[in-house]
């Protein structure tokens, strides 16, 4: 019997803090192979204002482009998933590694990226987007086909953090003017 997927409804402002565990933003343990980074940014609305109590979810491959649960050889220290509830200024942050190039499903590879789902009060359905790690020379048919402006909005900026750990920073801007490009799911 074919069934129609249940309609989404907004997360609302009261998603319980009790759901959040200390290791929720830890996508890869300190023992994971690869370049360790803090992946962070702010969730913003159309006017550049912060969106608080938003839920940012990330799914990614290990340093060799393998997904946990899918590839038996995947690094057991990389859960691949993390989530972060934005604070009053819209900040989110994850502890992770830069993923390797992963399969597109066909024969080609994808540039290192983080898949992102965004939930917030007033966002009627979640928004799906991606954050790309900078500096990759992988030929990626999707990324290379984007207009420069859109590509720039999806690429994280790399820098060295105060704690010596590399930082990847990417804001997620919602809204229908100059916002982060997203997918029509």
């Amino acid at each position: 019997m074919a069934r129609i997927p249940t309609a989404s409804q907004t997360l609302g402002p009261f998603y319980s803090y009790e759901f959040m565990r200390d290791d929720d933003p830890v996508i890869a343990s300190p023992k994971a192979a690869g370049q360790h980074v803090t992946l962070k940014g702010r969730l913003l609305d159309k006017n550049g204002g912060p969106v608080r109590e938003g839920l940012i979810e990330v799914w990614q491959a290990d340093a060799e482009g393998r997904y946990s649960g899918q590839d038996p050889a995947a690094d057991p220290e990389v859960r691949g998933f993390g989530r972060s509830l934005t604070d009053i200024d819209g900040n989110f942050a994850f502890q992770t590694i830069i993923p390797g190039a992963s399969s597109s499903g066909g024969n080609s590879l994808q540039a290192p990226h983080f898949a992102v789902n965004v939930f917030a009060s007033g966002l009627m359905r979640h928004v799906t987007t991606r954050i790309y790690a900078p500096g990759s020379d992988i030929a990626d048919s999707f990324l290379d086909g984007l207009p420069d402006a859109a590509k720039a909005l999806m690429l994280a900026r790399g820098s060295d953090g105060a704690d010596g750990k590399h930082v990847l920073e990417a804001d997620i801007r919602l809204g229908d003017e100059g916002g982060t490009p997203s997918f029509e799911e």
Binding site: I4, T6, S8, F19, W59, E184
Partner: protein
């Protein structure tokens, strides 16, 4: 891990529009011109979760007795588009107490707090795809800074299915409540049949005799088998 599922486009009208009349905030968050979806290994895989503590599905057993309100027992059944149960799906549920008040620092409204009620629960779907919650019918509550908009009694549900694409956050409602017709969030779903599918279904057989009203809810996550199933 399910990379063998395919994900059809969502039927027209079955999902809310990002911009919804009567709900101002949606206008500042709605994304513009979106790109066609990607369906690579990234989207077709997703996280799995370990068993949460077993007590998490009972929201009404307080230290000083039962929570106040109409006791209800809800059987949430998680299935895919082929109606196949999704064991291991993580379900999170949160709701207001009988007075429409959440146990949450952002809920600053003056309304009674019930020390015996916990406004959140969590569970993993069993082999039948089911998670059973014992809770109460929540109260309605006003939305701040609006012209008298009250949310109808509703329960928030979050589900992680077998892939990144099958992720769902929704709200379920009580059939026949007069506030349902006035709610910008529920009415933001264009197709009336899709709104009807957000109603809890009364079912005496899953209640607790003379104790808790029974309801069922089928949570249908995206994805169907690549080759049609024989029935």
């Amino acid at each position: 891990m399910t990379t063998d599922k395919i994900y059809d486009p969502l039927p027209e009208g079955s999902q809310p529009k990002y911009k919804t009349a009567g709900y101002f905030r949606t206008g500042t968050l709605a994304p513009g011109g979106q790109m066609p979806p990607l369906r690579t290994l990234t989207e077709l895989t997703g996280p799995r979760f370990e068993a949460p503590p077993p007590v998490d599905q009972n929201l009404v057993a307080g230290v000083d007795g039962l929570a106040i309100g109409q006791l209800i027992r809800i059987v949430v059944r998680v299935v895919d588009e082929d109606d196949r149960p999704q064991p291991g799906a993580l379900i999170e549920l949160w709701q207001a107490n009988a007075a429409g008040k959440y146990q949450h620092p952002v809920d600053q409204r003056k309304a009674p707090i019930d020390g015996n009620f916990r406004s959140w629960g969590r569970g993993l779907a069993d082999d039948k795809g089911e998670v059973v919650f014992l809770t109460i019918r929540p109260g309605a509550y006003p939305v701040p800074n609006t012209d008298g908009w009250w949310r109808p009694p509703h329960i928030h549900i979050s589900a992680y299915g077998s892939s990144f694409v099958s992720r769902l956050v929704t709200q379920v409602y009580f059939p026949g409540d007069p506030l349902n017709e006035l709610d910008a969030i529920l009415q933001g779903v264009p197709d009336p049949k899709a709104r009807e599918r957000l109603m809890l279904v009364p079912d005496e057989s899953v209640g607790l005799h003379e104790e808790a009203l029974g309801y069922r809810f089928d949570l249908v996550l995206r994805g169907r088998a690549a080759t049609p199933l024989e029935n």
